[in-house]
């Protein structure tokens, strides 16, 4: 992603339209000195917040992950147990492995499908139809509601054994499953719910599509490229930074999914631990079984895993992400 200011821009500047690249470059030369001080002054509420409710609590939770701290422990009898929580996690906790498996399965299936759906719909909506704005809004709606408890409740009602989905299927003579009440289908139902909330990446894709210069398509069609070839050889490379951005964001988000599984399984990750997402397991250990020390250890393993995963994603980026900046990396 590093942009060398030295390399002369191939494309002339377009001040009015301000591509992300151009904006970034302009910001890079920002002032130090007095302006810097003013900056920190303006930042101070945020900095205090960062220290008070992020940095210090994080360090505390790192400490607590080496103790047997229960939510109810008085501070005086928190006992240091070293790596015991971590050892238990990796050697003697079948539910930990269960949670890891469920979360991996969920994220690996949900994220690619969600991005594919978002891209497909973005391509459809990237035309100048009448009323296309309305459709954009409608498709975005589910992701606005996405994190909400109400939506998960509706979902669990729809997919209950005697819910609307099965009534609909029965209309065609198909006997539906118990969906959320069947350990073989519950996670799949959650995945569908996740995919359905593709509105946020869709909007970002739409913005990315608008950035692809029309000249490239014109040139390609003059050369006789089919729409399919244009998609693979113009749209995809030009869109790859946006795809990359969405991939990183949605992967992290996918791993952090919590609300829908929490609501649909009544906070238990059931049936038979089939929807025991990692965050849900963490929550259960911390707030339902009052094992905060252990939950802290789980949280740190989680943080490290997501960190490593993000690094891996970034390192693959150089092979397929093209920045329209000349120095193709």
């Amino acid at each position: 992603m590093a942009l060398t200011t030295a390399s002369a821009p191939v494309v002339p500047e377009q001040p009015g339209r301000g591509s992300p690249v151009a904006r970034k470059r302009r910001g890079a030369g920002g002032g130090r000195g007095r302006e810097g001080v003013a900056g920190y002054v303006f930042l101070s509420p945020w900095l205090l917040g960062l220290m008070g409710i992020t940095a210090i609590p994080m360090l505390l939770s790192l400490y607590l992950s080496f103790t047997d701290y229960s939510v109810f422990s008085t501070w005086e009898d928190v006992e240091w147990i070293g790596l015991e929580n971590y050892r238990t996690m990796f050697t003697n906790d079948p539910q930990f492995y269960r949670a890891v498996t469920v979360t991996l399965g969920y994220a690996l299936v949900m994220v690619p499908l969600k991005l594919a759906a978002a891209l497909a719909v973005a391509l459809l909506l990237n035309r100048a139809w009448r009323g296309v704005g309305l459709f954009r809004g409608l498709f975005y709606l589910p992701s606005l509601l996405g994190g909400s408890v109400a939506l998960a409740l509706v979902w669990s009602a729809l997919f209950a054994g005697d819910g609307a989905v099965n009534e609909f299927l029965a209309f065609f003579g198909i006997t539906g499953q118990a969906w959320v009440n069947d350990p073989d289908y519950a996670l799949g139902t959650l995945i569908i719910l996740g995919i359905w909330q593709f509105g946020a990446p869709m909007v970002i894709f739409l913005a990315g599509l608008k950035q692809v210069p029309v000249e490239l398509y014109e040139a390609a069609s003059v050369d006789g490229a089919s729409p399919w070839r244009q998609f693979w050889h113009v749209t995809m490379p030009m869109l790859s930074p946006v795809i990359f951005f969405n991939l990183v964001l949605e992967t992290i988000r996918g791993f952090q999914s919590f609300t829908s599984a929490f609501v649909i399984s009544n906070g238990n990750g059931g049936p038979v631990d089939s929807t025991l997402l990692y965050t849900l397991y963490l929550y259960k250990r911390g707030f339902a079984e009052f094992d905060m020390g252990y939950a802290s250890a789980l949280a740190w393993v989680f943080l490290l895993t997501i960190g490593i995963l993000t690094i891996v994603l970034f390192s693959t980026g150089r092979f397929w992400v093209h920045y329209a900046d000349g120095d193709d990396r």
């Binding site: 501070w75 009898d77 003697n92 118990a178 009440n181 069947d182 350990p183 906070g267 038979v272 339902a288």
Partner: protein
């Protein structure tokens, strides 16, 4: 680390050496764990720190319980009556549904802001008592300013953890089978009776399934239900807990799972996915009221609440087997916070709740049967709801047959309960054999109780 090794720090009026910084740190720590889940930060309010002995001193107690609006109304009425008698004492009340209650209480306790007075059940009593969250009420019980002498003895004892009175029963209840009387009449099946054997009960349930043409399975499958398992174990001379360990073996649990596997295979119960609905939902969605089973395994005092959710008439009997497997159980407790600034007032308010006649009549039997035996008769006379009367009549009839109360469940009970649900469901869905599942339960339970 065990609380018993620090008797001096459990005195009711703790010296105010409480580290403020510790309080802040705990609040931050709870926030830290909550943050990855994108939960809001726990608000860390703080109470004043004046403590005096002036009887007219203004006292404000925070009170927290779970329940619905009608419980809130009666509870507030009693608190108002207390304020009328003691104008210097006022209350700040909070209540919410069952779901999330303990999360909120634990977050508050972690932040050092536990309410002065809060409701608990035996799910949590030992956990909080051992962690020194609850106020030790023993001195007040001993000097009778908190008078438990009118309680059935086993009910008074059921609030004692490690020799300390950690909670006072607000009400008593008993496991009860609630069945759909209207439907049984429709199908021409006799009603179940108290004292029938487990096998006879399953045969009866099978009969209901058959007579309804398979539309109404005879009974919810209670194999994931700790209280049904507990009653069954006691009837064979075992206990669910033996001190801080499990009181039963993998063989016992295998037999329990096999008993219900047989029932499911015969069609006496619904299928696993419907059972799962019953396992995971609250009282208002019990299968007996959603029409998915003829019988639910609940508590006897829930008869009135469940009746509100169905047009059918419901009936109530004891769990199968000898009723001496049951005991006078506290359906809920009042506990004080060990950090309260006014332990004397807290004890007095609890005393008012359980020993004042007007308070008892106001509360009725919504939380369970009145714990004070003298007041039970007076409350009975005020009941108008037929279902409430039936609950009370059941309790009165069965009480003489009760066995001795066990100790309240140990720390880790909440985790054991959810573990039992997961493991029993793996058998219900056919993902594990009864023997495998029982082994899994025993090995995982040990780490949760340790």
């Amino acid at each position: 680390m065990h609380p018993a090794t620090h008797p001096e720090s459990a005195l009711p009026a703790r010296p105010h050496r409480t580290l403020k910084i510790g309080r802040v740190l705990r609040g931050l720590a709870a926030t830290a764990v909550a943050l990855p889940l994108i939960f809001g930060a726990a608000a860390c309010g703080d109470s004043g720190d004046s403590a005096g002995t002036d009887p007219n001193e203004k006292v404000e107690l925070s009170v927290f319980w779970w329940g619905d609006d009608s419980r809130a109304e009666t509870t507030k009425k009693v608190l108002d009556a207390y304020t009328a008698a003691h104008p210097n004492v006022t209350f700040v009340t909070t209540f919410q549904g069952n779901q999330g209650y303990l999360d909120k209480l634990s977050t508050q306790a972690a932040g050092g802001n536990a309410p002065d007075l809060f409701q608990l059940d035996d799910n949590m009593l030992s956990e909080l008592a051992e962690r020194k969250v609850t106020l030790d009420l023993t001195p007040y019980v001993e000097d009778k300013s908190l008078d438990l002498s009118k309680f059935p003895e086993s009910l008074a004892k059921y609030g004692v953890v490690d020799g300390k009175q950690a909670g006072v029963a607000l009400a008593e209840n008993t496991p009860g089978l609630i069945y759909n009387r209207s439907k049984l009449q429709e199908f021409g099946v006799a009603e179940p009776t108290t004292g029938m054997t487990w096998e006879a009960f399953i045969t009866w349930a099978k009969q209901v399934s058959d007579k309804s043409g398979g539309k109404l399975p005879g009974t919810m499958d209670p194999s994931a239900d700790y209280k049904a398992l507990w009653v069954w174990l006691r009837q064979q001379g075992k206990e669910f807990y033996n001190g801080k360990e499990l009181g039963f073996t993998a063989e016992d649990l295998t037999r329990w799972f096999e008993l219900w596997k047989g029932a499911r295979d015969s069609g006496a119960t619904p299928t696993a996915d419907v059972i799962h609905e019953g396992n995971s939902s609250d009282a208002t969605k019990q299968l007996v009221v959603t029409g998915k089973a003829a019988t639910s395994w609940v508590w006897s005092n829930q008869l009135a609440a469940l009746s509100k959710n169905t047009k059918d008439q419901l009936g109530l009997v004891a769990y199968p087997g000898n009723p001496n497997g049951q005991w006078a159980r506290a359906s809920m407790y009042w506990s004080g916070s060990s950090r309260t600034e006014h332990p004397d007032v807290v004890a007095d308010v609890i005393n008012f709740f359980v020993n004042d006649a007007t308070a008892a009549k106001t509360l009725g039997i919504e939380r369970g049967i009145t714990p004070n035996l003298d007041l039970r008769k007076e409350v009975e006379a005020t009941l108008t709801d037929a279902n409430q009367k039936a609950s009370l009549a059941f309790e009165t009839q069965i009480t003489p047959q009760f066995g001795a109360a066990p100790a309240p469940p140990p720390k880790g009970h909440a985790a054991i309960r959810t573990l039992l649900v997961t493991i029993a469901e793996s058998v219900q869905y056919g993902k594990a054999t009864p023997a495998q599942a029982a082994q899994d339960f025993i090995s995982q339970a040990q780490s949760k109780l340790a």
